[in-house]
Amino acid sequence: MLAQVFAVIIFIAMFVFIVTEIVERHVVSLICALLTIVLVFGVGMHSMAAVIETINLKSIFVREFWYLSGETSGSSAGINWETILFIFGMMVMVEGMARAGFFRWLCMRIAKLVNYQVIPLFITFMVLATVLAMFIDSITVILFLAAVTIELSQLLKFNPVPMILSEIFCANLGGAATMCGDPPNIIIGTSLGYSFMDFVTNTGVIAGVCLAAVLVYFYLIFRKELRAGASKSVDYSSLPSPESTITDKKGFSVSCAIFAVAIVLLVTHAQTGLTVSTIGCIVAIATLVTSWKYAILLLKKVDYKTLLFFIGLFVVIGGLEQTGILEVMAAFIGKISGGNVMVMIAIIIWLSAIASAFVDNIPFATTMIPIIKSLSAAYGVDLTILAWTLAMGTDIGGSSTPIGASANVVGIATASREGYVIKWGLYCRKMMPATVMVVLISMLMIYFRYL
């Protein structure tokens, strides 16, 4: 009982401190992790075994961590080192691509392809945000897209805010489509043993349908605003040519090749048996070896704070799991739904969406994974259905408020630095209806496809 009380207090305190930003979130999660080890596992449970199980270092030294010869059930207990290694590897690869000028080149190439016409640019940038975010973290996608959007808006004389808002939404949507698009999906995938293609054929299909809907939605609400300012006589010569944005031609070719290899490895990992941790290591090593001159610089640019945040978070959630708190929460959801799977799906998707709009979706998804496992075991509901429901809710819900997802924050800040300060009212007026629409479509698609 004492261990449960400690686990809940630490968990709530962690959320409060993350939201208030009194100290950085990785510091909060690491302190809370330490408290979990001392108070929950030590004072409350007197269990060294729980500590070892949660730290989970032994998982790295088994063959299944690197290579799977058959099906896996995954594991959600303790620190998910597979997630940490994969994200680290992708971060190194993305830094290598950014250094060579890949993202800016891609944006400028597409802008040129549509002859710098505002509406086609608006549509193609939304699609580009979705596709890129399927493989690359949404922060990087928005960082480059928003910067290029502002640059183009100054020349083409249109308001960049509608375009940036649409790109943010699509980046979050793209993240929902694949296993590596958004951290909650990586955690869900590695914890429950799903492959990249499992996500593509399930959340990917839902995201595809939702993309069609949001393209229409954003076009309808923003078309007048975008057309109003668009200048007819523009001097395109003042824009950099796509080729001129490449800062290192050899590095560019190499990083494109590594990116292509990463996609192939991810798409085929269920067949090859390579786990995401192996794929993460392969792309990181390939990037560092081929860009050895910049290896230290690339390693310095990795967002270690986020990785540390994940490590602390997994320990705190491990505390809740070991003390059985999450089973109590699962039983509560099961009781409310009366065992009805439709109600259960509705609760999970809307609860995830609403929570993710206000709190970090990573701790939320991490908390919910053991809960949906318990629900599946207790009520005989197919776990995959609940997993796709959780992924869509957490990935999409964050789009509705300025603080819901990292991409939102980066997009808003980038626009604001150029004088386009985006306030809560404007953001929510445009993004909340889109979020509600997409969550609703996702829920209905889950009902019709799986029930």
Partner: protein, 201 residues
């Protein structure tokens, strides 16, 4: 070319700090930035920023904002960065100006031409001034002063390491109630001129 002069004026509400800043700007014939800073930025960027006036000199709300890798969703904080960039550009261009508040004593600290001043005042004198200027009762004036100073403190302290009004943060802190506005201005111009002469030597 005239030597650059940047005067940063922090002030307690009711101390007459703004009036002092205006008089200094007139005396040195240099531009004054206060609430008009937003208009100047809007004009430079060819944007309408009227809807942002309510955010000027406001602290960020930690519950409704989030920071990711140094990027913030807070409109107050983003507006502040816009103002910082604008002021640094002005300072880099060698232009002279007087700036009221807006953490200017901190963000322009690296410029040798900066003279940072904090104007404070006696409570009774500040109340008297606010009652006279805004036709308020004593209790209304006291409340107004408390509210305004609290806002300025929270705004400043949420973006700067040193505390608002801490004398170690400014070149000179002066109580305007002791000498009155005009004599305070005379004293300050004397201080600024001596500083400038010293730099020239």
């Amino acid at each position: 070319m005239e030597k650059q002069l940047i005067v940063s004026v922090g002030r307690e509400y009711g101390s007459g700090g703004h009036e002092i800043a205006e008089k200094l700007s007139k005396y040195y014939k240099i531009q004054l930035f206060d609430h008009n800073l937003l208009d100047a930025i809007a004009a430079k960027k060819n944007l309408n920023m009227d809807h942002l006036k309510g955010l000027d000199e406001k602290h960020k709300n930690p519950l409704s904002s989030r920071t990711v890798r140094g990027f913030s969703s807070s409109p107050e904080e983003n507006l502040l960065y816009l103002q910082f960039d604008y002021l640094r550009d002005k300072a880099d261009s060698g232009e002279s100006f007087v700036i009221v508040g807006r953490c200017s004593e901190t963000i322009l600290k690296q410029y040798n031409s900066l003279v940072s001043i904090f104007v404070l005042g006696d409570r009774d004198k500040k109340v008297e001034r606010i009652m006279r200027l805004y036709q308020m009762t004593e209790s209304q004036a006291v409340r107004k002063i408390r509210e305004k100073d609290m806002k300025r403190r929270r705004y400043h302290n949420s973006f700067c390491d040193r505390k608002w009004g801490d004398s170690r943060n400014y070149d000179i802190s002066i109580n305007s109630s002791k000498l009155g506005i005009d004599t305070t201005v005379e004293l300050l111009t004397d201080y600024i001129d001596r500083r400038r002469n010293r730099q020239e030597d």
